[in-house]
């Protein structure tokens, strides 16, 4: 299991859209078979009965747990920092594995500034993530955005430690 994750991650680090180089010798048979499925992104799970192999979708989903579902932002900013490229890539890969997958990008801000302005800022952050996913091949019909502004803090508190955790986009399936 661990190997699968590492592999999927390696693939992501090297760029979600490229075919990942795979060391076949280290790869268990079941993973090889599922990897061959990954070349067929549109194949839904129901088309693969009676197989214990992980679908590309399942694999990509496992990768998500590793990278997480949250992207954090600087104060009053909506540009995605480069450290989140792997997060974006993992989610793009997962979403690309099936057009049936839908995602909701929930933009959030810290409590500073007026509430409706922060709704705008949260939307801008969600849109930044939306564009990044679409650049990596995700269909726009799979994505909806929702801005909560400062209304849904992840943590309580009125200091920078809390603000840092609250300025975020949550990737919600």
């Amino acid at each position: 299991m661990r190997k699968i994750l590492i592999m999927a991650l390696a693939a992501l680090v090297l760029g979600g859209c490229k075919t990942p180089p795979i060391n076949k010798a280290d790869t268990p048979a079941e993973t090889q078979s599922s990897d061959s499925n990954s070349n067929n992104n549109a194949a839904p799970m129901s088309n693969m009965p009676n197989t214990q192999a992980m679908s590309a979708e399942q694999m990509a989903h496992q990768a998500l747990d590793k990278v997480g579902f949250v992207i954090y932002f600087d104060y009053d900013k909506s540009d995605i920092k480069s450290e989140y490229n792997t997060v974006i890539a993992a989610h793009a890969k997962y979403l690309s594995s099936s057009n049936n997958l839908k995602v909701r990008l929930e933009g959030n801000t810290d409590e500073r500034g007026s509430r409706e302005y922060n709704i705008g800022l949260g939307e801008r952050r969600a849109q930044a993530v939306r564009r990044a996913l679409m650049l990596l091949g995700v269909n726009e019909n799979q994505i909806t955005t929702l801005s909560y502004g400062e209304e849904r803090p992840a943590v309580e508190g009125h200091d920078e430690a809390a603000y840092t955790k609250n300025r975020r986009v949550e990737i919600s399936y």
């Binding site: 909701r104 500073r112 509430r115 409706e116 302005y117 939307e123 955005t145 502004g149």
Partner: protein, 439 residues
Amino acid sequence: MQRFISLCAGVMLGVFSTFAAHAELVIEITRGLNDAVPIAVVPFGSSGNSKPALDIAEVVSNDLSRSGRFAPLDRRDMIEQPTSGEQIQFADWRLLKSNYILVGKAVSTSADHYDVQFELFNVLNAQRLLGLHIAATTATLRITAHRIADIVFEQLTGIPGVASTRIAYVNVEGVVPNQTYKLTVSDADGANPIVIANSNDPIMSPAWSPDGLSLAYVSFVNKAAAIYVKFLQTGETRKVSARSGINGAPAWSPDGKQLALTLSRKDGDVDVYTLELATQVLTRMTYDPSIDTEPAWSADGSKIYFTSDRSGNAQIYETNVRDSNHAPRRVTFDGNYNARPRVSPDGKQLALVHQEGGNFNIATLDVKTGSLQVITKGRQDESPSYAPNGAQLIFSTQSRGHGVLALVSADGRSQQNLGATSGDVREAAWGPLPPKQKQ
């Protein structure tokens, strides 16, 4: 000769289909009031078969105190308690340094009915300024007390009192991430709170219709933002905008026929629009790729002020409603953050959120001269809303880690906090004056 002028107690009682809230607001004077006018509001007497269940003078006294203009005398300092003009020993009240004295009584006329009589005197020259009476029932005693406060306030200041108005606010309880959001309407003093919307998803941005009969607000129920209008008399709720993306910042036009609102539509471009309620006709007001939001109508309805970060940081702009093709005009230039404008009732000022030295405070802007005056001193003050007489604003601030509401005089000289008995309260919107009652 009739000693008292009779007032028709045409009291409006909203019929609500919803339930009462537990969270009440409690008042705490935080600063100012040094130049408040001393007044003695003597406990009202009673006569007849039944005694009123309400301490009328206490309600009147609190109303006058909350206005920031009056400093009612502490009851414990009153050496006598006259209930009519002829009982007043003016020399005693001069010693107590009261400029004015209000006396009165509730005369029981029949079961559950009262004739509330009151007289206002200038202590210095013993001149009788008012002598009125209002018919009331047990159910209308509190509203009657607010009316007495408003009549006294207007007599002494020349501007209408706002004790008979209502406010709407958002009450948030529970711990992150399991919070509940309630949209509450209460009397201006926090009494009679009634929850009109209740959700585990955020509720925000309440806005009163100019006639005071409806509230627009934003709800995130079902994981999508939508603007609703609640009709207070019928309890009916109508969804008026649920487009893709943001549906936010509703603001009623002065004639009550349109809402200005913020939408992001499919492309995510946050802009201000107007929505004609009867026809659902949508008109785009701003076109910039920046965040354009928080619309507020000018008093005459010809312009919309809004927040935009098109210059790189949030500032206030104005655009013509009838001709939105012209580039909006920037109206704030002090500091690097000015947002969420609200227009004073006379249209001459904007109240807004202004950042200075890391703190967010309420400021007023003189529309003609462009001069900006910061009127609050908190760290995280927001959401100013003018009282309908323009003399005060209600806004949100932090006190001991909690969100509370506060009142500040338009000149910033007096401030009082209105804390909730539970949870956080915020985003107060001050309702309009009740329809003028016949005298």
